[in-house]
């Protein structure tokens, strides 16, 4: 089974379009679209990370906003210590270097995912959903009460992190940075999903009993997947903190976990591109419907309902069926 050449072609066309997007947006006299696209890319990374455990691994985590938020707060807290010149815990100096803050954000959210995963993965099904939700809410309230770091109001990051000579405050620069990271991340996920590890993970979703009978100790593989997924969400959170130059506990509120899940379902559970498509659809719908009525979630709910009932696999499945009809 070889991947058809048309798939590579359409991917190449898509990539060219994405690279040209800021120019096209400027030409269309709608430069703000570049920022919308940046948001889509960042949420796409987060949703793809959630999809890694939810869609491929069958672990329905309802607490992934926690890792998104932690990623953001690592950037925010490091910046605060950097700007005030006070070391964190009296030892670690703060930083505003992207090459320091983002990897740290990924590591810290990975460590948190290891901790939360180690405890929640001892359960399954509904208990797993509730425990991940509970952990996320605990972190939410922890950051609400952390007055040093802004509490309820969140933290303002006066200047975006530095990366060489790049000005990350610039809309287009930030877009290209996020595009590069999103594409690399997707490539990484693609390799993992098709690797031996991915094979085991997808097997576990289909039948844990079968995998056990084949001699698999499921727990460590699920935990590894959960950590990878948490790291991906942390990466997205760190980028979001740089993009908005602001972090707040809202980033880890349970509704954010819900939004990520909606993106995954909209786009297509257990697909590689689905979460990115879903993130795009979600953000478009949010802005379109919100311009029309303040009860925009009602409209979104209906659309989600239709997609779930009739597309049999979200927007990704819908697109691929439309394309196949053309061919």
């Amino acid at each position: 089974m070889r991947t058809p050449i048309t798939t590579y072609l359409s991917l190449a066309v898509l990539l060219v379009l994405l690279v040209a997007l800021p120019t096209l947006a400027d030409l269309a006299n709608y430069p703000a679209f570049t920022s919308v696209a940046t948001r889509v890319l960042i949420y796409g990374i987060a949703a793809a990370s959630l999809n890694f455990v939810l869609g491929f691994g069958g672990m329905v985590s309802f607490g992934h906003a926690a890792f998104f938020g932690i990623g953001g707060y690592v950037v925010g807290i490091l910046y605060q210590h950097y700007s005030l010149g006070e070391p964190l815990f009296g030892v670690f100096p703060g930083s505003n270097q992207l090459l320091v803050t983002v990897p740290l954000a990924v590591l810290v959210s990975g460590a948190m995912a290891a901790l939360i995963g180690a405890l929640s993965l001892r359960t399954g099904g509904v208990q797993f959903i509730m425990i991940t939700l509970a952990f996320a809410q605990m972190l939410f309230f922890l950051f609400v009460s952390l007055k040093t770091y802004g509490g309820d109001d969140g933290l303002i990051i006066r200047r975006a992190n530095e990366l060489g000579d790049l000005n990350l405050r610039d809309r287009q620069t930030m877009y290209y940075l996020c595009l590069t990271i999103a594409v690399s991340f997707l490539f990484l996920l693609w390799r993992i999903v098709n690797s031996r590890f991915g094979n085991v993970l997808i097997g576990l979703r289909q039948s844990e009993r079968r995998m056990a009978a084949l001699g698999l100790s499921a727990y460590r593989y699920k935990l590894a997947a959960f950590v990878i997924s948490g790291m991906g969400c942390g990466l997205a959170g760190a980028l979001m903190a740089n993009f908005l130059r602001y972090v707040s506990p809202d980033m880890m509120h349970w509704t954010k976990s819900g939004e990520l899940m909606v993106m995954v379902i909209l786009g297509g559970v257990g697909t590689l591109f689905g979460p990115f498509i879903g993130a795009g659809a979600f953000i478009m719908l949010e802005s379109l419907l919100a311009a029309w009525t303040e009860n925009w979630q009602l409209g979104l709910g209906f659309i989600l309902l239709l997609l779930v009932l009739y597309t049999n696999g979200g927007l990704q499945a819908l697109f691929s069926r439309l394309f196949r009809r053309d061919a």
Partner: protein
Amino acid sequence: MTRPILNVTDLAKRFGGLVATDNVSIDVRPGEIHALIGPNGAGKTTLISQLLGELPHDAGRIELEGREIGKLSTARRVHLGLARTFQVTCLLPDYTVLDNVAIAIQLRQGHSFRFWGNVRKDSALREKARGFLRDAGLEDRAEVVTANLSHGEQKQLELAVALATEPRVLLLDEPMAGLGHVESEQMIAMLRGCKQRVSMILVEHDMDAVFALADRVSVLVYGRIIATGTVEEIRENAEVRTAYLGEGEDLC
């Protein structure tokens, strides 16, 4: 007499007041098919689950090649050479037939913390998996999604997957259940074919299959083994006849 490869002594399991396994002792010698028969609810599947460690037992010993494995995890037991098939087929439904066998070989080859290479382009693995499918007569169906297989083919695949883990002892839970006459014949031929490589405990209701394959038969009733012997001995055993065989021709 050769030393048994799998030796179970005084295995016991209770679910509250119900004694599911009542001091069961059973052994399998190398190259032997030891059939386990008994009416529904006798505790045959429960016994298999305990042997593989999916269900913990309360008391007794399970020895594989002289080594006590009763406290080990299912994964460890599988690596030491136990495998099972399921009465209600338990396969990976979204994967192709070939994927189902390949993943069994993959897990046999060691840990799967390998994140980079494409597992479906691992030609050695794929070729090996094809070999097992060829033995099971499923080679033509390699690229079919498992959920689309017929019931009989799924049963054959169950066996192919179990054999792909290269077990020393195979625990078969009603491999003939739901098979037509021709399919049963094929299954019997296949089991007979791998008898030299792997010893088996065969739980089965199809008496023709049991009498055709088994070297010894044990009869389990209410969690207790009431008789063990050769096919002839079991056929002649009065207690067995009343408890089980005497219930008429309709044995399912």
